[in-house]
Symmetry: C2
Amino acid sequence: MRKVSIIGVGTSAFGKLQPGIIEIAVEACEKAIADAGIEKKSIKTFYLGNYAGEVLTGQALLAAMVARGLGLGVIPVTKVEGACASGGIALRHGIQAVATGEVDFALVAGVEKMTGVPTPKVTSALAGAVDQNLEGKVGLTFPGFFALAFRRYIHEFAVNEDLIHQVVVKSRGNALNNPICYLRKKTSLEDIKASYPVAEPLRQMDCCPISDGAAAAVICPAEIAKNFHANPVQILASTQTLGYTRLSDLSSLLSFEATVNAAKKAYQMAGITPADIDVAEIHDCFSIAEVIDSEDLGFFKKGEGAAAAAGGATSLAGTIPINPSGGLISRGHPVGATGLAQVYEIVKQLRGDAVNQVPNARTGLAHNLGGPGSTCTVTILRQQD
Amino acid sequence: MRKVSIIGVGTSAFGKLQPGIIEIAVEACEKAIADAGIEKKSIKTFYLGNYAGEVLTGQALLAAMVARGLGLGVIPVTKVEGACASGGIALRHGIQAVATGEVDFALVAGVEKMTGVPTPKVTSALAGAVDQNLEGKVGLTFPGFFALAFRRYIHEFAVNEDLIHQVVVKSRGNALNNPICYLRKKTSLEDIKASYPVAEPLRQMDCCPISDGAAAAVICPAEIAKNFHANPVQILASTQTLGYTRLSDLSSLLSFEATVNAAKKAYQMAGITPADIDVAEIHDCFSIAEVIDSEDLGFFKKGEGAAAAAGGATSLAGTIPINPSGGLISRGHPVGATGLAQVYEIVKQLRGDAVNQVPNARTGLAHNLGGPGSTCTVTILRQQD
């Protein structure tokens, strides 16, 4: 396997966007290609992460549509789907394609267009990642799933629920000056507790907003990366795992095996420990998700994540800054785009030009989770020497 | 790149099936794994081709759902989509994963569940592979698209339209004794012409039927293939190409560049010519498609495919037997499954135990096409020495 680096990243705006799903994806890709300074004809494979393109916009065959919109050549173009981890899966496939020597330049992107559609339709599309034979039938949705996890967490670890809401205060604070975030409004604990209950104890502001957006990256062999970008970011590890697909199969709601396994393998591949990570973008689809993820990824012991975060450990000045971008909770969660939006932020951090720059950030981690803990990607990145 | 072989194949029945989409896929996979004689824990990556799972059944995250149903381990599982070429794309990804050395054993499958849903919803889902910004809006569907191609073909080459319908007579004849085919009824030219017009000159029997089904294959390095199956089938070439996504961008309706390019590259990789192919399964979503494909793949000169087929060249005893299984036109076209159902038939042919065995078939080709000529996979297979 060859060493691989990211030499270009780009995103669209996130939020309620006017352009269609193809245009949003093309915009992010054009920016990533320009950032990489490569010619389009160099791109020899293209992966697009997308979850519900056809359900929400009527448009299928999206990888080909976006590739034609970009003017790519006669290359393989593939849409991949793994619910909310679709973007991370696209990234991993681009990394593998270059690492194995299949191609020298891969373009990867993720996109979702979710606004302009009645909310019940979006809710129903998102619930499509629940097992329809069993748990979809009885009305399980993701807010319901994470509300159960929230309730279990505060019971099991005797944690005041305010500590969970507090995660949102931190992330919304980070988002204030990040232009790509959908929600850039100062948010207090009181605001969150006053927002309407979605599935108690989850309040509306504990949930990432429905939004549109796209993000993209260009990948090439590390040994030639500096010919294209002064500050390439090297991939130390990229993993993708299968976990449980049913709530009823989980032995605990307090940990997701897909994350634990993806992280363990990634740290091993990178030859580092969680303590070596300087900055992380993790899958905070709900406030409680960030807490569980932060423990599953090894940043805190099980049951200690909420208190640690409330104590400032995950803030920009903390021991492990988490979601300096504002996270899904502020940026929005255009499902297919999220995995690549996270990597966009980590690349910016490791280049040293992030909006909320973490001082001396040298090694970063991105964590993307799909379904009820069903599929996970973890990517570890480092400033290329 | 390592040499790669198929050591196991399996399918569900095709047609109107009682079980759900996950169960159908699991059935085909279980059969392929049993055929390969490997343990499930050997499988280190899983690709599932599926087009409209969420739109038609409400079930997303299908790769994980099927993988859990099978009891696979903590491995990467990925759904890929490229409209009607989704199955071929899954196959190619399994081949690449083994060829590049990423894994030793890959499981690939394709599935679709299309019946039990109102036909207009299915038609609309299929039309999702048309560019919705431009041509979807004005009502273009795939029957409409191929009707235009049919009309252009008979005009351009002064061919009697009966020669196009005749392709169906041949394929339906092949299907008569193939138990996995959905439509196994002797069909005459008169039957076809008497069937209702879908989009003239296409009659109902010129169109593949809406159906359910799944197919799967197990792939491993050629050098160890004989440890698992007495008659492994080696992959000589596997290609995937991008073509046009809009009817209005095509310079001609009589040829699909995605096929021409995928075939050209595949013959080159395999070091053979079309004349070396003993049997082919090609993408006959409509009668006219088989004719155009047979020319694009180099079996006949442009404009001569219809007459050659009518003269028997593509029959079981012909110079290049095409769709000995009965093709999409008889087996049905559960979109995501088709690319792997084709490979199932070619593997059976090259093992010498096909239902309609082509004598001395040593080298075979499978051709899967998605969208309005937008994405294509070509796979060339040979009896392993």
